[in-house]
Amino acid sequence: MEGSVAYENDLNLEATELRLGLPGTDEREEQTVSNVRNNKRPLQVADEECGANGKSNTQNETAPHAKAQIVGWPPIRSYRKNNFQPKKSECEGPGIYVKVSMDGAAYLRKIDLKVYTGYPELLRALENMFKFTLGEYSDREGYKGSDYAPTYEDKDGDWMLVGDVPWEMFITSCNRLRIMKGSEARGLGCGV
């Protein structure tokens, strides 16, 4: 194609990109976030996907990826995308290491919260690490369906249920994690 030059890895791409759509209309930008765990298959990720359970939408962040993510590109099935923790060297800055204790386990573990992209990944990693299963999370009832509840100590020293606040807020306010078991766990999250 005449006129194309070697691309640089920045937004210059937009200037020479083929545009679809009638002249004068805004190009609808299909924003989504890659590496989000999708058990459902939304066609587009709407703005309201921000929330307790997922990543924050890239278009609302001040430090987004260099390019908007496009739905279904690259063409990798979601279960392949969700299988890896990114290598630590790719994380910018130091990790956020917190201790994790589990009621009944012989010793504690330490994990780097920065390695995870959201709650589903973190919870699965905890399930794997300590060999237990959590129930389904809901706003009203916490983790229903199992004897365990993941909790964390926040900056005020209070023990909170994991999953209530947006992910970014969680990782900056979490001091340590504790997986509660038994009657204590069932008490947490029931009613308000």
Binding site: L13, F84, A106
Partner: protein, 611 residues
């Protein structure tokens, strides 16, 4: 799957009315005696009997389709003798029509959604329900043994009904399916007493909480294959261990990530006859006091003398990799596509895999790892390189260097899927020349519209060389910066291409025209985000009846254009799909068009408009 045998005959006689129900091959003379009286009266009948016996041996469905066109008599006999029914698009024909024509089917192979549905390009609940097929088959096919579904929606009830309706059911394979959960699996396995194969591949399984592994019937099992690596929930390991212990015929076992390496060891000792093994976690339990004694995994692998296919390796701790050394020399298939390992960790393994024919891997091994593959795996037929980091515009661990090396080292290559961030025309051209046996060439340069980084040119020449030099090519996926010229090459030289995938490519309608006019064997065309419009589609319409489907999303088709096409081609179903909350735009978001004998389907959700 056996087509003849004494056991079949007695069952058939009870259930079926036709006197020609015996499937056993006998000489012609014996046949005259068995057929009820009419044989000697009508020479046509004799001919049909002979034909029936002959056609039992015809397995290729394409051959069968040709046979059925010869004359009415051949059509009839072919329909009677077809025992494996393949339906490439579940909406192309209704279940009733299929069961009416083919009355003695033992195996059904059914495909639903188009492939782009895997990449979130199709809203959920679009369709492709297994249920109507299941209900239609219960009476006509009491002897159904095998069902293979790809991209279909299957419910828990369907699974229960399947096991209940077909007493001799033996094999269920679900690939990229959804809609069912562990409850359905539990009902299915508990009722399916003759089960030999249960393969769940890349399917989404809902967690209902049921311990389905415990639901396999007691006593010796006939299981030959059990694949459940896609089930993302813990399973009852003790029950699995007992199941494996009582399955002496088990050859294929693929575990999910909830089985640790220590547990794998226990299973392998019970089943040294395995030929295909998918490990779960390739790391041990981590809690202290759980029997930390290091097991000799190498011995377990060495005991599996028949192992030819290895996969799994989730959350791998590379220190455990040497355990597989004993089996490397016999491996024909190795799937490391979940194993985050680098070149140094790969080399000691791959250098032993001289017989390898199929290799799936992550780009974490880098070009250096691919060079190691090229150095050893001279028998390689299929290579897939997946990205660890599926984003655009980041550094590329694999590149043209890796592709060049593979093309030089693995000249028997037939199929390649290669994800990368950068690629040159030179390397692609080299592959086209070094690997003349290529049947499948799928290159995904993840940055959209990326030209050749060395020359700055589009990737037209590279793909052009592929279609020109690889004379056996039937499947092609293109990427990178491509002009209409690339499509001109494809139309001109890609005469055998049946499947073509296009994304973010082309300049104008001419691109699509070249393809539709030139690729006479084209069956499946999937296009996204390319500037092709109504005129291009119109010009190639005559070809559309020969295609299984056409998918175009985020292109330049207008609703009016699609309407005209729907008018002009009554036997095509033209679906316009818009995402749930979208306003009606001037451009159609997604067009999915396919030939069908049935007209518009009745189960389309509201965001699908059938023109």
């Amino acid at each position: 799957m056996r087509r003849n045998g004494a056991e079949d005959m007695s069952e058939d006689d009870e259930r079926q009315q036709s006197p020609r129900s015996d499937l056993e091959f006998t000489s012609n003379k014996a046949r005259y005696c068995k057929a009820t009286g009419s044989a000697s009266d009508h020479p046509d009948q004799v001919l049909e009997n002979v034909l029936e016996n002959v056609l039992h041996f015809l397995t290729s469905r394409r051959d069968r389709n040709s046979v059925s066109l010869v004359c009415k008599s051949w059509y009839r006999v072919e329909a009677l003798t077809r025992s494996e029914l393949f339906i490439g698009n579940c909406y192309a024909v209704s279940p009733g029509r299929a069961t009416a024509r083919f009355t003695r089917v033992r195996a059904l192979h059914l495909k639903g959604k188009p492939r782009f549905a895997d990449f979130n390009l199709m809203p959920p609940d679009w369709g492709a329900h297994f249920n109507p097929w299941l209900l239609a088959m219960a009476k006509p096919y009491p002897w159904l043994e095998k069902v293979y579904l790809k991209r279909m929606s299957v419910t828990n009830d369907d699974l229960a009904t399947l096991a209940e309706s077909f007493s001799g059911f033996k094999e269920l394979v679900l690939v990229c399916c959804d809609g069912f959960g562990t409850n359905g699996l539990a009902s299915f396995v508990s009722k399916c007493r003759q089960l030999r194969v249960l393969d769940l591949i890349e399917s989404e399984v809902i967690h209902d909480g049921t311990d389905w592994i415990s639901c396999f019937p007691q006593g010796e099992s006939h299981l030959e294959s059990l694949i459940f690596d896609c089930v993302e929930w813990p399973i009852n390991f003790e029950a699995l261990e007992r199941l494996v212990a009582r399955s002496p015929l088990l050859k294929k076992l693929r575990l999910n990530r909830y089985v640790s390496i220590g547990q794998l060891y226990r299973l392998m000792i019970q089943a040294p006859q395995l030929t295909h093994l998918g490990t779960g976690l390739f790391s041990p339990l981590e809690i202290a006091g759980q029997g930390d004694q290091e097991l000799d995994y190498g011995t377990a692998f060495a005991a599996c003398r028949s192992l030819v296919c290895l996969s799994g390796f989730r959350e791998i701790i590379p220190d455990y990799l040497p355990a597989i050394y004993p089996v490397c020399a016999n491996l024909t298939s190795l799937n490391f596509s979940y194993a985050n390992i680098n070149a140094e960790q790969l080399k000691p393994i791959i250098s032993k895999c001289h017989k390898l024919r199929v290799f799936w891997v992550l780009d974490s091994i880098c070009d250096e790892g691919l060079q190691a593959v090229a150095a050893t795996c001279k028998e390689l037929r299929e290579l897939r390189v997946f990205p660890i980091n599926a984003q655009e515009d980041i550094d590329s661990p694999v590149s043209e260097v890796g592709l060049q090396a593979i093309s030089e080292g693995c000249q028997k290559l037939q199929s390649i899927l290669y994800f990368c961030q950068r690629m040159t025309n030179e390397a692609v051209i080299a592959m086209s020349k070094n690997c003349p046996d290529l049947v499948v060439f799928r290159l995904c340069i993840m940055g959209r519209h990326k030209p050749d980084p060395v020359t700055g040119e589009p990737m037209d020449d590279g793909f052009g060389a592929i279609v020109m030099n690889c004379k056996k090519l039937t499947r092609l996926a293109v990427s990178g910066l491509l002009t209409d010229k690339a499509f001109e090459y494809i139309g001109k030289y890609g005469k055998l291409v049946r499947t073509l995938s296009v994304a973010f490519a082309g300049d104008s309608d001419m691109g699509l025209k070249y393809v539709l006019e030139g690729c006479s064997q084209l069956q499946k065309l999937e296009i996204r985000d390319s500037p092709f419009g109504d005129a291009a589609l119109r010009s190639g319409l005559h070809h559309c009846y020969y295609m299984r489907f056409l998918w175009m999303s985020s292109c330049r088709l207008t609703r009016q254009g699609c309407q005209e096409i729907a008018h002009a081609m009554p036997r095509l179903v033209v679906e316009v799909i818009r995402s749930a909350d979208m306003e009606m735009d001037d451009f159609v978001e997604t067009l999915y068009m396919y030939r069908s004998l049935e007209g518009p389907r009745i189960d389309a959700p509201k965001y699908v408009t059938i023109l």
